[in-house]
Amino acid sequence: MAMTQLPVCQVSYNIVDERGANAQVQAYLPAATTLSDAATRAAALRTALAALTEGSITSQSITYSFVDPVAPAAGENSRVEQKGVFVFRSASTQLTRIQIPAFPLTLVTVTGSIDEDLPLVNALVTEMVNNGWVASLGSDIVALERSYQIMRTTTRNRRARDDRPD
């Protein structure tokens, strides 16, 4: 496998105060902790924290992280603002999309749509439709609705460093 799991999973909570300001709390569990146990332990710590803080806990998340120590370098002239957008339909008719950064022009037709007949594109669509991926509400993805290229606005952080004022 290309990906290596980091040694911990992170448990975090968002706390809001009466002014509406937010703060985050982070704690760590061994990465081998099952999802069920992590949820149980995170809930226990949340209960203990809720009993002490004068803020209100509004959300909780559990995050397992992975890195690829041998990931190939980015290609020449790759730009994360160039996105390939794939819109899928779920069994409940909900539409869900993925946006792929640095999507190459070689996979895009002259109209800006993505060439869905290309093997690499077809493999991605097959993966999303046939391998258990779901829409945000949990319904199985069943078909590709449409696909196209977009150019995301370049944010300040993505601007060239030599283009920024000192």
Binding site: L52, N77, V134
Partner: protein, 140 residues
């Protein structure tokens, strides 16, 4: 109160381009309650995404988020004020700190300590041994 994770996870694939600018691609799937390991569909989607991007797909995470029912905060203390609790770890290096916003220096930390030492670790995965300090902290 039960957290409704539903085991629905967001898989976030992280990319960097030639200029080291970051972006990501998210997809959703339902996970079993067991261990979260990198295998099967997580890897096959990684391979499919890497094949159609010229950026470097260098990392990923799987996140389970639960939005909780909440009521207006019980006290006036801003979340910029609170305490930092320090724990020693088993390997004897820097240990771990736990930032607790809106918590008083006089709070009874018995339950928090018990959970942290029994189940939680520092950010390197070393078990925590004992609380070794508490101090007030103001982040504003």
């Amino acid at each position: 109160m039960t957290v409704q994770t539903d085991m629905m996870g967001t898989v976030r694939y992280r990319f960097r381009d030639e200029r080291n600018k970051a972006s990501y691609c998210s997809a959703y799937r339902v996970f079993s309650s067991g261990s979260v390991v990198w295998a099967g569909p997580l890897e096959s989607l990684r391979a499919a995404l890497a094949a159609v991007s010229t950026a470097s797909l260098y990392a990923a995470d799987v996140r389970f988020t639960a939005t909780l029912p909440w009521t207006p905060p019980p006290g006036p203390t801003p979340v910029t004020r609170g305490i930092v609790v320090y724990y020693d770890n088993a390997s004897g290096d820097s240990g771990e700190l736990l930032w607790l916003p809106g918590v008083s220096l006089t709070a009874d930390l018995t339950t928090i300590d018990s959970l942290m030492i029994q189940y939680f670790t520092d950010r390197d995965g070393d078990p925590l041994l004992a609380r070794v300090g508490v101090r007030e902290y103001v982040s504003e």
